[in-house]
């Protein structure tokens, strides 16, 4: 049942109870009706985009079937006219107040720009390093998205950028594809300017993928030098810094939605890295790394501390939530642990793993409190997810060799059933609390 219909059913009762006046009830219904007019907007946009893409594909396929028979000049005329035509139609729709169709034609323009790059390369036998073509296409999408304030075009550009870095890193064996960070920085400018959430999701997924590709490349640096261990620490700190950046953003009016997205991905990556540090197997790596790793770790540490202090000092002592105070203490403890881990002998792996486990579970508790305060339900779900998988991992680590197999599996089953039930109850309680807070806030 639609929201408007629900209101129509319940408003008479609310008027009767004296909670809402008849005038206000009419205003509320009008507002709900107006919202519903905008409601199917995404559906209309999706249909417009799909329609335009199908038309474009049909045109391309039609010419594809007759491509060989066409002289070069005619081929070029078709390619350029299709590109110009789609942008002209976008302009026309924009002028006639048909923004959804305009967006769809802009996206078609971006698609045609890419297909033109490939087809011109084909016509003139250009076969040089093909990820460069994908980069040019991606930049075309970002340019269109930025200048025309079109999120679908920018999302297409970002997606192509991710494809570009994937091709460079995986297809062509680049060590670390640093130029992608420049591309991401450029693309994030319009995303932040327009506060586009979907585009931010894509940008952050791209960042996570790039981080993974770079990890694969860098973990091979200096065999036996413990590069993986150093990298996990640096990655943890970098994503922690991003999370604190998200908390800073959350403090600005109108930026909460973007901050939530940022916090979600940053917390996921930081928790993933800290989770890896809870395994003694990783901590047994030799610390034979160069000073470069120390420098990278210290720089990342400084960045985290600077952001944390900045965030801490922005809230006055009177209104500062308690989780921030003990969070700062936890942060200091984790920083010390990371530094100790850099200099530790591999024999200390078990002790360090124990300390990292304690820090990890304390971190999860802190995240739950922060999630409630930041009204970020995704963080609650994530914290419970990491809690559950770590509990299972520790159960396997500890009892696999100590218990009889049948007892081990039965115990695991009980842990899953009982723990799962308890965790789900807690998760629901916290997400309800966040929903309640939001409703009060609204």
């Amino acid at each position: 049942m639609s929201f408007k219909k629900q209101l129509q059913q319940r408003l008479p009762h609310w008027i009767e109870q004296g909670w809402v006046s008849a005038d206000n009830a009419a205003h509320i219904l009008n507002d709900a009706a107006a919202s519903e007019r905008h409601g199917p907007r995404y559906l209309a946009l999706a249909f417009s985009l799909l329609g335009v893409i199908l038309i474009g594909s049909g045109i391309i396929t039609f010419f594809a079937a007759n491509w060989v028979a066409m002289p070069k000049l005619l081929k070029l005329a078709v390619l350029f006219c299709a590109l110009w035509g789609s942008y002209a139609l976008a302009g026309l729709c924009e002028r006639r107040a048909m923004p959804l169709l305009a967006t769809a034609f802009l996206l078609l323009g971006v698609i045609l720009f890419g297909s033109n790059i490939m087809l011109i390369a084909q016509i003139y036998h250009i076969s040089a390093h093909y990820p460069d073509g994908v980069l040019v296409w991606a930049l075309g999408g970002v340019l269109t998205g930025w200048l025309m304030r079109s999120q679908p075009a920018l999302v297409a550009g970002l997606g192509l950028g991710v494809l570009w870095t994937g091709l460079e890193s995986q297809g062509f064996g680049r060590e670390v594809h640093w130029p992608f960070l420049l591309f991401l920085g450029l693309s994030l400018w319009p995303v932040m300017q327009q506060r586009w959430r979907i585009a931010l999701h894509i940008a952050l997924i791209g960042l996570l993928l790039w981080s993974w590709f770079s990890f694969l490349a860098m973990s091979g640096w200096g065999r036996g030098s413990g590069a993986e261990l150093y990298l996990v620490q640096v990655y943890f700190l970098a994503y922690l810094a991003l999370f604190i950046g998200g908390m800073l953003l959350h403090g600005h009016d109108g930026w909460q939605n973007l901050a939530h997205v940022l916090q979600r991905y940053a917390a996921f990556a930081a928790l993933g890295c800290l989770y890896l540090l809870t395994f003694p197997q990783l901590l047994r790596h030799d610390r034979g790394g160069s000073g470069m790793w120390w420098l990278a770790t210290l720089l990342a540490l400084l960045l985290v501390v600077a952001l944390a202090v900045w965030h801490y000092r922005r809230s006055s002592a009177g209104v500062r939530p308690p989780f921030l105070n003990w969070g700062l203490g936890l942060l200091v403890a984790v920083m010390v642990l990371l530094l100790v881990n850099l200099a530790a002998e591999r024999q200390a792996a078990s002790t360090l793993a124990l300390l990292f486990n304690l820090a990890y579970f304390a971190g999860l508790l802190w995240l739950l409190q922060a999630a409630v305060h930041l009204e970020n339900r995704a963080l609650v779900n994530m914290a419970f997810f990491f809690f559950a998988i770590t509990l299972l991992a520790r159960y396997f680590d500890t009892f696999w060799s100590l218990m009889d197999r049948s007892l081990f599996f039965m115990g695991g089953g009980l842990l899953l059933l009982g723990g799962g039930y308890w965790l789900e109850r807690q998760r629901r309680r916290l997400t309800r609390q966040i929903s309640g807070q939001r409703e009060v806030g609204a």
Partner: protein, 189 residues
């Protein structure tokens, strides 16, 4: 800036990019020195439409011990291959990391460096440092169905390519030759 101006800017920039691709290739074709390179067609595939033939040039794998110039190359390095005329094909004479002044050199990118060389004549592996190079002239698009014909030339048919090399080292396929006779020739339009 008005939306129509912004839209026009996008159209102009994207059109310039596309025409730039054509102009760069055409400039190489028009001003480059023609060289004939020995090649073996391999692996024709159906792509978007039509076929394309991938060529494996004689200069795609270079033994560094037989060439003048630099010896140290790594994967993804830019490489300049100095070409010298021969009969009937041009051959690599030297390789450099930087463009050599006053010499005709084709620019490529090192795909990999290997210490082992497969000698097809003796059917054995030799310890020879060599580089595999890609020049951006490896793919040639032909009308649909003709890729397979080029892949398997009939006995006695020898396929070679005439490539234009401009003063910056860029190469562009000018013509595809079968037994020295033009089969396809590239034109602007």
């Amino acid at each position: 800036m008005k939306p129509s101006t912004r839209l026009l800017l996008i159209v102009v920039i994207q059109t310039l990019v596309l025409t730039g691709m054509i102009a760069k290739r055409q400039w190489t074709l028009a001003t480059g020195t023609p060289v004939v390179l020995e090649t073996q067609p391999i692996d024709p595939r159906s792509l978007f439409r039509g076929d394309y033939v991938t060529f494996n040039y004689d200069i795609s794998r270079l033994r560094l011990d037989e060439l003048d110039g630099d010896d140290e190359f790594r994967q993804h390095d830019t490489i300049y291959v100095v070409l010298a005329p021969g009969e009937p094909f041009w051959r690599a004479r030297a390789v450099y990391r930087e463009a050599p002044a006053g010499q005709l050199a084709l620019r490529g990118r090192v795909q990999y460096v290997s210490e082992h060389w497969w000698n097809a004549e003796t059917q054995s592996s030799e310890e020879v440092r060599h580089v595999s190079v890609r020049y951006g002239i490896e793919d040639y698009f032909v009308p649909e169905g003709e890729g397979r014909v080029l892949e398997r030339p009939v006995a006695g048919e020898e396929i070679s390519l005439r490539v234009a090399v401009d003063r910056f080292g860029n190469g562009a396929i000018q013509a595809l030759l079968i037994n020295g006779v033009e089969r396809y020739r590239e034109t602007l339009f």
